[in-house]
Every structure is written in C-alpha cells, then in structure tokens.
C-alpha cells in the first residue's frame, strides 16, 4: 500500500536522548540524539544489534521510560513531557505495543478474553458486557484464532497463537501506531512468516502505522517502507528499504548487510564478510550531521566521510 508522504507525520521524534543512571558515577547512554518520523499507514523498521538502543526508543515513545531530552510529538501533541489526562488517554489508546516474548507478555492467570478485553475494560469503551464480549470475539476471528477459545488460558495456546493474542490485544483499541518490539524473534521461521503476513494484512485493512523494531534484516526488508539503522544509540542511516538495501553508504550498514546469510550454498560458502569495528574505524558518531543522499536516504557523518564514501 503506497504511503502518502505529503501529509503531516503521525509521529515525530526529535533529538531523543535516553540516559539511565545506574549508579552515582556511571550513566548508561542508551539513545543519543535520535530523530525520525513515521507517516500514517507506514511501517518504519528500526534495525540494530543488541545494545543499539532500539527497544529503548520504542519504550520511550510509549512512555514506559521518561525521555531524558528531546521531543516526541504524536498527532501534534507533545507526549515527551508532563501530559494532561486527555493526552494520556490518547497515548494509551492510540499507541499500542507488542512485546518480544509472547509467553511473558500474557498474564498466566487471566483467560484470553479478559486479557484482550483489558483495554476496553480500563477505558470503559463499551456500554455493556455483551458489546465488549462481541468485540473480543470479532478480534479473535480477525487475527485468525477460533472464537470458542476465548475462555482458555495463555499456556493452552502455541507460541504463534500467543503472539496473535498479543496482536489482538493491541488491535482491539484501534490504534494509529503499533510499536512491535522484536515481536517475531521468539518464534519459529514458519510462524514468523504467518505473524508478519497478519500484520501486513491488518495494515492494509486499518491503515495502522508500525514501528517495527528488530535485528532480523530479512524480515525488515519485507515488511518496512522505510528503515533506520542504529548503532550504539545513534541513528546512522535512514531511507526506504530499497535505498538502504540497494545502496548502503555507511560502513556499519554495509557490514550489517553483508553479515546476512544468503540461502544460496554456492555463493555463500565462498563469500567474504565486510568487517567493521567502531573502535578502530576512526569514525566518531557524536560528530557529523545528516547528509541527503537521494530521495529519502540520509546518512549521519561528517562532510569528509560523506565525500569519501560516496
């Protein structure tokens, strides 16, 4: 589904910084000066390895953490500072999150119907119990589960079905933005494909935007319209999926893409990896600004580096 980039962005993150004070003398700087936008109906893939800060960004947007610095605007409302009750309600109903481990993100003592209907219960969105039950059953069918299973406990579902429950819980609130935090990493390959297809179908039907956080580069190319590459808390390169995969500029992006195993034995057995070591590369992420390469493709580097790499 093509995305209209001429309309105002749904989510605008500007200069987000997230620092955690671990003890008196040391601070973990998880996210450094990250800025990006997500447009309505778009999937923005945030890729990076562990420690790159991608999960932290997702959690800061949904205010599980309070941002140390920077601005996050959703639908024109500032959700990074103190919020009034209306903004809070908007945040909790319009932005939803799907977590990595489906088993851990479902309360083992509640039945599936209650878990999914929780959002409706908290915000009193339904006038009667019957209406709420009907909505829950409708969502069950939408994500491909049998409505008779509403009164089952989470451990009675398989891994893929549990992740569908998590998607259903997010979806029942009709959010404009869903943050998917590594939601396919804990699943088998064939189940990953099912879940990703489901998410795409939902996007077609409802126009929800996704912030797809992952370290799996092959899936991110399939599902995302645009991609951002993170390393050590900095957003190094961003652009459409074709631009990033077809024409990567930053050496880190190149090394990341070259590390993806290709399922072609004759080619793969003899392929040489591109190596990249931040410490010895001479690059300093804190210096540099965003340079436009083409279209929507930007890379963060100094002017010299930009001329060298291009």
């Amino acid at each position: 589904m093509p995305v209209n980039y001429n309309q105002p962005p749904l989510l605008k993150v500007e200069g987000l910084r997230q620092y955690f004070r671990v003890c008196a003398s040391c601070t973990v700087k998880a996210v450094e000066d990250v800025s990006f936008e997500i447009y309505p109906g778009e999937t923005y893939g945030l890729v990076g390895e562990s420690g790159s800060g991608k999960s932290t960004i997702g959690r800061s947007i949904i205010r599980l953490y309070t941002p140390t610095d920077g601005r996050i605007c959703f639908h024109g409302m500032d959700i990074s500072r103190r919020m009034n009750p209306d903004t809070k309600t908007s945040l909790h109903t319009q932005i939803q999150m799907i977590f990595q481990d489906p088993k851990a993100s479902l309360n083992p003592r509640k039945i599936a119907g209650d878990i999914i209907g929780e959002g409706l219960d908290i915000h009193h969105s339904c006038k009667s119990r019957a209406e709420r039950d009907a909505k829950v059953k409708e969502i069950f069918v939408k994500v491909g589960l049998a409505p008779e299973h509403v009164s089952r406990y989470p451990h009675e579902f398989s891994g893929g079905q549990q992740q569908r429950l998590c998607i259903a819980r997010a979806l029942i609130m009709n959010p404009k933005l869903i943050i998917a935090d590594e939601c396919t990493s804990a699943l088998d390959v064939s189940i990953q494909a099912q879940v990703v297809n489901l998410m795409k179908d939902i996007q077609e039907e409802t126009g929800t935007a996704y912030l797809f956080i992952t370290h799996n580069l092959s899936i991110v190319k399939y599902i995302s319209h645009r991609i951002g590459v993170l390393h050590l808390g900095y957003l190094l390169e961003t652009g459409t999926a074709e631009e990033i995969f077809g024409h990567p500029i930053h050496p880190y992006t190149k090394s990341l893409l070259s590390a993806i195993p290709v399922p072609n034995p004759a080619v793969e057995k003899n392929r040489i990896l591109e190596c990249y070591n931040y410490k010895t590369s001479g690059i300093d992420y804190s210096k540099g600004s965003y340079h436009l390469v083409e279209g929507m493709h930007y890379v963060k580097c100094t002017d010299d580096e930009f001329y060298k790499w291009n």
Partner: protein, 364 residues
C-alpha cells in the same frame, strides 16, 4: 564425493519416548543419520522437531524422564595408540559415557552463551577443567594449552582473559570461550546446538567462520543444529530436515537448496523473505508444529500440507530414494502419486539462485 570417507557416527532407527505429567511423548520416531569424518552435517527443523533430543541422545545427556528407547548409535573412534573401536552409545551406561565420550571424543556447544558458563569460575579454570579431569595433565601445562586454545578461537589478549569471569565478556566472546572449552580435549565430533541464535548477526557470521576454520584445521566432524537456512548454506555439506521427530528429507546442500522435494522443505525455503525480489506476500506454512502428545496415524505434516494425499492420513510415508545421497519421506515421490510441482514463486527463486551460482562459479 564420499568415496572412502570414514563414517564415524551412524544412527539407525532411533526411537525415544518421554513420560511427562500429561502422558507419553514419542519424541523421536525413527531417525537415521550418518556423519563422515571431516564432514559438516546440518540438522534443520523448528521447535519440537526433535533435533536437540537426537543429539542429546548421542551425548548421553537426555533428561531423566525417558521411558523407552530403541535403535543404535554407533560411534567409531580412535584410541591414543591408533586403534579404532566401534561402540553403541545407547547400550552404555551413563558413567562410561561420561568417562569416555563427553568432552573427550564428542563435545557440545550450546545455544545460550550466557548460561553455558559457570559464573563463579574463571575462564581459564573452565577451559582447564576438562583437560585435567580426562587426561590428568599437570596444571601448568593445562594453562599453556588453554592460552593456545584462546588464541585459536581468536580471542584478543588471551592471557588476560584467562583470569576473567564470564560476566566480564560479551556474548560473542563467551561463545568463543565455550568453543574453546569444547575443543580442549581434542574431540572427534563437535555438536553445535544453535550456537548463534542468541547472538547478533555480525557476531553470528564471525562465529560461523570460526567454526568453519577450526573444522578444516582439526579435521573435525561437525553436527550443526539450526533453524536458519542461510547458516546451513554457509556451513553444511549435508542437510537433514526434521519434522515431528522424523527426518523428512536429507541430501547434500546443493540438492536440498536447488532441488527440494518434500513440501515441508518447500515451505521452509519459501518462508524466508527473498532479499533480492520485492514480494507481495510471504508464503507460509499454515498452522503450528504438532503437539507430540497426540500422535496421529499417517504423516505428521499432513494437516499443514497443501499437497497432502489421501494416503497421508492413513500411513506414514517411507524414505524414497531420489539419488544416492538425496532421500525424502513423502508419498508424492511414490510412482502412483500425481505429479506435483513446487510453488511457482519458489521455483523462480531457485532458478535465479542457480543462475547466480553459475555466474559466481564462472567468476572464480
């Protein structure tokens, strides 16, 4: 090809049943596997397919609730003086296995490097432990050997690392230490149980290169358990695809990747997104892996198989021979079965890959 390659591990008709709180689980249902010297065999499958259990049976480290077992696991190894001996591991008791097999002749690298290492022991001690216990080597010599091993696994500053503890290392470094521990007693077989699944993709690539290099230098035989076909393409000579406790297809890497015959293999290959083509929809295998508590007559894959035949509900398919090295257990290969082609998208992708392979070979 495999002319005079010595087969050092031969598993025949392995059956294992576990008893659990809810009933008995027929986890392994007749597995045949061969491993030749210097070869890398990949065991591919999703969770619940039984790949880890098969290799744990080889190591003799199955859980305590095994209730029945059948079959043979023949391991052919060399003594220090050059004699060879063949033994059936399933007929040995755990004590013998612990003294003669574990670590000494067959070593295992596990999935999670965070929990594979003892957090209260220094790295050096953990590497030396096996050597001292199996071979009674004096401490100083063991220390030197351990430093050599750390150099072999490309660990920087090996002498400094010997005194460090696991929590001071990163994930990739810990996995290198685990590999060093596995190599400490010069085993003949190395079993890697998804060693890179928990690691980042760049570290994963480096660890796989490391394993390849070590294998070539030491002439090791490697069994690599994974669910990632990309990794299989890089490292394996021979591939076994497992589903619900059985091997459904096996063959050389080229045969499996360019000419798969089992619908499950088609499904797995199609489920990987193609990086070079813009797909509208990822084709998937519908449904979930089966719950082995409820065993059904007939093919375990039939409920999820869009190419299922009526006979798939009645009796399990035997292994059909395609070439000397390529076998698949599907009724579609029976002469009486209708001709079924693999999905079109997959066929196009494989043709494209074959062409790329030829170009690549031409370049070399």
């Amino acid at each position: 090809m495999a002319e005079e390659k010595e087969t050092i591990l031969r598993i025949r008709d392995l059956h294992i049943t576990f008893c659990s709180l809810d009933g008995s689980i027929h986890a392994i249902q007749g597995v045949d596997l061969d491993l030749a010297k210097g070869e890398t065999v990949a065991l591919v499958g999703e969770s619940g397919s039984g790949k880890s259990v098969t290799m744990k049976a080889v190591m003799g480290i199955l859980a305590n609730n095994v209730s029945a077992g059948k079959g043979t696991i023949e391991f052919r190894y060399h003594h220090e003086d050059g004699r060879t001996e063949t033994v059936d591991i399933l007929k040995q008791d755990k004590k013998w296995i612990r003294r003669n097999i574990n670590g000494k002749r067959i070593a295992m690298v596990f999935q999670d490097p965070m929990t594979s290492l003892d957090p209260t022991m220094s790295i050096g001690k953990q590497i030396m432990e096996g050597m001292i216990w199996h071979f009674k080597i004096p401490k100083q010599e063991a220390w030197n050997r351990a430093v050599e091993l750390l150099k072999e696994v490309e660990m920087e500053e090996p002498r400094k690392r010997m005194k460090q503890y696991p929590h001071q290392l990163s994930g990739g470094q810990r996995q290198r230490v685990v590999i060093a521990i596995a190599l400490a007693c010069n085993p003949e077989i190395l079993i890697c149980d998804e060693p890179t699944t928990a690691l980042d993709v760049t570290i994963q690539a480096k660890i796989i290169e490391l394993i390849k290099r070590i294998q070539k230098e030491r002439q090791l035989s490697v069994v690599y358990i994974t669910h990632d076909f990309g990794v299989v393409a890089k490292i394996a000579d021979y591939v076994n695809v497992m589903y619900a406790g059985k091997i459904v297809e096996k063959g050389t890497t080229d045969e499996i990747f360019y000419d798969p015959r089992h619908p499950y293999t088609w499904g797995l290959l199609s489920a990987m997104p193609d990086l070079d083509a813009r797909e509208e929809r990822l084709s998937t295998i519908p449904g979930s892996p089966p719950n082995l508590l409820y065993e059904r007559a007939g093919d375990a894959f039939a409920p999820r198989n869009p190419y299922a035949l009526v006979v798939d509900d009645k009796v399990k398919p035997p292994m059909f021979r395609i070439t000397d090295t390529h076998f698949a257990a599907t009724w579609l290969l029976d002469p009486r079965a209708p001709k079924v082609e693999m999905p079109k998208q997959l066929r196009l992708r494989l043709n494209r890959m074959k062409k790329e392979a030829e170009e690549h070979a031409g370049k070399l």
